[in-house]
Amino acid sequence: MYDNKRLALSIFWAVFGVVLMALSIAEVLDSLYAGMGGALTAVGVLQIIRNLRYRRDPEYQEKIDTEVNDERNRFLRMKSWSWAGYIAIMVEGIGVIAATILGNDTVRTMLSYSVCLILCAYWISYLILSRKY
């Protein structure tokens, strides 16, 4: 699961985070980027640690492989994404109505576009998957 590509990507995020923090401290970038950099570094370092442990500890490797490949976990991940999509589209739909009532045209337009984008993504995905399966 944790291959060299993932390790390289983790190192990239950690280094990118450090660069963002350094530029922010040097006042080249806004202080907002320091927080973002810190978060990226933390995630990157955590992933590097997990990656190295995966390579060195066979028990941990087996545990992670089972978690990732477990068919119930895969089913739950798919189901969760499906629910998240439904919830997002419902919330955005309610947001469009609320923005219309409140007269906020910018928010209404943005949310409407977002709903359209999700629906388009759904139909494109459906078409691609129906050809594949």
Binding site: T66, E67, N69, D70, E71, R72, N73, F75
Partner: protein
Amino acid sequence: MKNRIEEIRNSRGIRQEELAGLMGVSRQTISSLENGRYNPSILLAHKIAAYFGMTIEEVFIFGEE
């Protein structure tokens, strides 16, 4: 879909963890299968049945949900 996994597993003195390890799934998956909360893929069903030396029909009881 109902199944006889728990009954067969207990009769052979196998723990959930052991069966999960042999099937390459988590213990929670075995627990969910036994409770009927999760229906397995045909591959997992075949793997479990083959491990018990039985047919899928002998382990899993097919019926309308």
